[in-house]
């Protein structure tokens, strides 16, 4: 088994300072180290429950990574890892964005310390104001022919306008590191729009969230992925996936109103960019 670090990780833990990070193989699988203090356990429990939950409709299942159980992997001290579908394996030049959904990342079952930590982070970011925050993104620059990623610290301090700009940049083809030119949003309709675009997928998810009371997806992210290679000829193949289930809890007969509210807000932001790019005559 040939394992290496994933190329396009935009948020979450990376292999650093001797601590294990995620790995990928050449067979389309993603190996996620089980996080300490019950989070890894919760994530496994979620995947086990979700994979066998017959009440989750098939068309919703596609928004979740396929689960392949847990495995001890050599080189990681025999520590167990969660084996998942590598969401990027079918893409050759993917632009990726991670959006943490919900107007709060804490939840009643969490420890007081964790709640306070989350409250601070939620207030500093767009989580409280907008119902979601951009955790990270990487976008392919068609002029520079390379990937561009904003500075993490800068991203943490953005406000609503910064979010709008990031969502525009994410679907632009022009030079991204040059802040003087306005992002052209050239790929807005191929990525966000269309019958298989991001907006349509998000709306499908929203409908499920209006009724499902199985899980509360605390602190989960929506990952948006699209292909840049031959985007003009073959289209963007945009995909929406839910990831990061370390804090998922039982719904207990109540809908995940926190995630739903944030998702609806995010949908509006995406729709606004789609509409303004449809209306604009030139960049």
């Amino acid at each position: 088994m040939h394992l290496k670090a994933p190329e396009h990780q935009v948020a979450g833990h990376i292999a650093k300072d001797g601590k294990p990070g995620p790995l990928v193989d050449d067979k389309g699988r993603f190996f996620k180290p089980l996080q300490g203090d019950s989070r890894g356990e919760i994530e496994v429990k979620f995947y086990e429950s979700f994979s066998s939950n017959t009440e989750v409709p098939d068309h919703i299942r596609r928004y979740f990574p396929v689960y392949h159980g847990t495995q001890a992997v050599e080189g990681s001290d025999g520590a167990a890892m969660i084996v998942l579908e590598n969401l990027l394996s079918k893409y050759s030049k993917p632009s990726v964005m991670d959006v943490k959904m919900g107007s709060r990342t804490w939840y009643p079952e969490a420890s007081e310390e964790y709640i306070q930590k989350c409250l601070r982070k939620d207030a500093r970011s767009t989580t409280v104001s907008s119902g979601f925050r951009i955790s990270g993104f990487e976008v392919y620059d068609h002029k520079e022919l390379s990937f561009w990623k904003p500075d993490r610290k800068l991203l943490n301090g953005i406000k609503v306008d910064g979010v709008r700009l990031a969502l525009r940049k994410f679907v632009s083809s022009n030079t991204l590191s040059d802040t003087s030119s306005k992002p052209d949003a050239a790929f807005a309709s191929s990525v966000y729009g269309g019958s298989n675009g991001v907006l349509t997928q998000l709306l499908e998810l929203k409908t499920w969230f209006e009724n499902q009371t199985f899980y509360h997806f605390n602190s989960c992210s929506i990952l948006i992925i699209y292909e840049n290679e031959s985007i003009h000829e073959d289209g963007a193949r945009a995909q929406v996936k839910l990831v990061d289930f370390a804090h998922v809890h039982d719904g207990n007969g109540v809908i995940d109103h926190n995630f739903l509210g944030g998702l609806c807000s995010f949908i509006n932001f995406v729709r606004d960019i789609l509409q303004s790019s449809d209306e604009s005559t030139d960049n």
């Binding site: 107007s103 709060r104 104001s129 119902g131 109540v254 809908i255 926190n258 609806c264 509006n268």
Partner: protein, 286 residues
């Protein structure tokens, strides 16, 4: 001419020399403008809302009609004070059952004082606000068996957990005794919650507006549910949904009110579940 409203279930009450709202006999509700910014903010909201061309007419119907500000003799004897003059939402009912539900998984909002934030979050966590996205603020239900109103103590209501909230919503549409532990029969669920003009339909209309409106953020607002118990005549329940309490409303600034929207969806799910289980039930006692 002005008296203390009979059917006030939440908020300040004009009683025992306290400052509170009053009603007249012409269907108007007088809400004193409180000393702090809240009264001013509420009046400002009503002014903005009444003249906002971007609010569709069918949504306007879910808000009390605003009749400006008037100087009126205050309920606590402190003389003439400015009062907001609003439509008295319950004036056309003879024996109304009323419930006030505060919508949103948080009642605080960005840029409030630390003191206010701490007060809000403490209450939000102690009630069903955080867990359900809404909390029952007050209720007054006509009890057919007792031929009088059942009105649980405010502290009991604030202590409700998910089951308590669910039971209250079931009792709201029940015909059997409310004060004891008998299982609510939900006899009026389809007349009040269901039907083409029922509470559920109205909430769904409000929800559709909240999916895209970015005009206002309705922090700490309530949904008021009212229906008629007086029998005789055409026996129509006339269930109504109204949004009330706009002291903390802020500009939406291009962002939807995701806090209210999420809580509203959760509340709608509770109502739908009660409607469904009352439809499926073959006999009372379940």
């Amino acid at each position: 001419m002005l008296k203390v409203p009979e059917h006030q279930v939440a908020g300040h009450i004009a009683k025992d020399g306290k400052l509170g709202p009053l009603v007249d006999d012409r269907g108007r509700f007088y809400k004193p403008l409180q000393g702090d910014a809240r009264g001013e903010n509420e009046a400002k909201f009503y002014e903005s809302f009444s003249s906002n061309k971007n609010v569709p007419d069918h949504i306007r119907g879910y808000f009390p009609v605003y009749h400006g500000v008037q100087l009126v003799e205050a309920s606590d004897g402190s003389g003439k004070l400015p009062h907001m003059v609003l439509e008295d939402v319950v004036s056309s009912y003879v024996k109304p059952s009323v419930m006030d539900v505060k919508i949103g998984s948080r009642t605080w909002y960005p840029d409030v004082s630390e003191e206010y934030f701490n007060k809000c979050i403490k209450k939000d966590r102690a009630t069903t606000t955080v867990s359900l996205g809404f909390r029952v603020s007050g209720l007054k239900i006509f009890d057919c068996q007792e031929s009088g109103f059942w009105r649980p103590d405010k502290r009991v209501v604030l202590a409700y957990k998910a089951d308590g909230a669910r039971t209250a919503l079931r009792k709201f549409v029940s015909s059997n005794s409310l004060a004891d532990d008998s299982v609510p029969d939900c006899a009026y669920a389809s007349e009040v919650y269901g039907g083409s003009n029922g509470i559920l339909m109205q909430l769904l209309e409000v929800k559709a507006w909240f999916e895209t409106q970015t005009l206002y953020h309705f922090n700490s607002c309530s949904v008021l549910m009212v229906y008629e118990n007086e029998s005789g005549g055409d026996e129509e329940r006339r269930p109504q949904v109204k949004l009330v309490d706009f002291a903390h409303v802020l500009d939406g600034n291009g962002v939807i009110d995701h806090n209210f929207f999420g809580g509203l969806c959760s509340f709608i799910k509770f109502i739908q579940d009660i409607l469904e289980s009352s439809d499926n039930r073959c006999e009372n006692g379940h």
